[in-house]
């Protein structure tokens, strides 16, 4: 592997995986997405001019492939997403709480939050990855975070 690609892989593999995992909520599928996007990127990365456009493209592929998988999955069974998560991804209390809250957010609110919180992208970068305008990105993140706060408050009230 060339040094430039090796660096890109080393610095992003874990975050790409966690973004895909946050969207799909299924470990095996997230690993498949990670594998597919890096191999696909490897075939074409020579034509990229800058690191920032490579990262944008990488996460855009990961998000699109994850959403495609959700669509395929929802055609097969609408219940699969809810069934697989607890067995595959819950490792500790913090994670259990986050998974429980995120599982109740629709994917269009979940995805920009994951890109912001896990991969650390700016609004501008997220707008490029999701091909949405910045206003829409901000609004979705704010709506998503507000819902997360409301759900967390309800869980505290009900002693969950």
């Amino acid at each position: 592997m060339e040094e430039r690609f090796e660096k890109l892989y080393r610095e992003n593999a874990r975050y790409v995986y966690n973004v895909a995992l946050g969207i799909l909520r299924n470990k095996a599928e997230a690993e498949d997405v990670m594998q597919n996007v890096f191999i696909k990127l490897f075939e074409t990365y020579g034509s990229f001019r800058g690191e920032s456009s490579i990262r944008t493209y990488l996460y855009r592929m990961a998000v699109n492939r994850s959403i495609d998988l959700i669509r395929v999955r929802s055609n097969r069974s609408s219940k699969l997403e809810q069934i697989e998560l607890p067995q595959n991804t819950v490792n500790n209390q913090a994670k259990a709480e986050l998974d429980s809250l995120m599982s109740r957010l629709p994917v269009e609110l979940r995805t920009p939050i994951l890109l912001s919180e896990i991969a650390g992208f700016s609004y501008k970068e997220i707008s490029a990855i999701l091909q949405l305008n910045i206003g829409t990105v901000k609004s979705r993140i704010n709506r998503g975070m507000t819902r997360l706060k409301e759900m967390a408050a309800k869980e505290v009230m009900h002693g969950v």
Binding site: M1, E2, F5, Y9, A13, R14, Y17, N18, L21, K27, A30, E31, M34, Q35, F38, I39, F42, E43, T44, Y45, G46, S47, F48, S53, T56, Y57, R60, N64, I67, T89, N91, N92, A94, K95, L98, L101, V107, E108, T111, L114, S116, E117, I118, S122, Y123, K124, S127, A128, I129, L130, Q131, L132, K138, I141, N142, M145, L148, K149, A152, A153
Partner: protein, 145 residues
């Protein structure tokens, strides 16, 4: 600044994607307003959950990706690797042909060496225009979600 405005800008504040003036107003508002402080603290707590919940992909999968990448064709890598090999091969063939020619075995040197060199001609990789966002013009495209 009113509580409603502060709450709307809290996430931007945590991301530091806010003007210096707004940043200052929010910081001073949070110091005085218990409700907004609680809101801010909860936001910080939720954000921390993301950081502490990161998982690592399976080492087996990571190793498998590395293996596949090592074997996968890459426009840039393959051409970079092949260029010296092709150059050396062409040079060896030219020298060999010249040797045969001078020894009288081959009398059509030019045709044969030309054919050999053409056979190993390097094909430039295709150009992929993967630009997804133009930061200078701020051009954005359709909604995928």
């Amino acid at each position: 600044m009113e509580c409603k405005t502060v709450k709307e800008l809290l996430y931007d504040y945590t991301k530091n994607e806010i003007s210096a003036g707004q940043k200052e107003s929010i910081a001073s508002h949070i110091k005085q307003c218990h409700e907004c402080t609680a809101e801010y603290d909860e936001l910080i707590r939720l954000k921390a959950l993301f950081g502490s919940s990161l998982e690592s992909p399976s080492p087996v999968v990571l190793a498998s990706i590395r293996e596949k990448l090592a074997a996968a064709p890459s426009g840039r890598r393959l051409h970079g690797f092949l260029r010296p090999v092709i150059g050396i091969a062409a040079a060896v063939m030219i020298i060999a042909s010249a040797g045969f020619y001078t020894s009288g075995i081959i009398s059509h040197k030019n045709n044969i060496t030309d054919y050999m060199i053409e056979s190993y001609e390097v094909v430039e990789p295709e150009f992929y225009d993967n630009t997804v966002y133009n930061y200078e013009t701020d051009i954005l495209y359709g909604d995928v979600l």
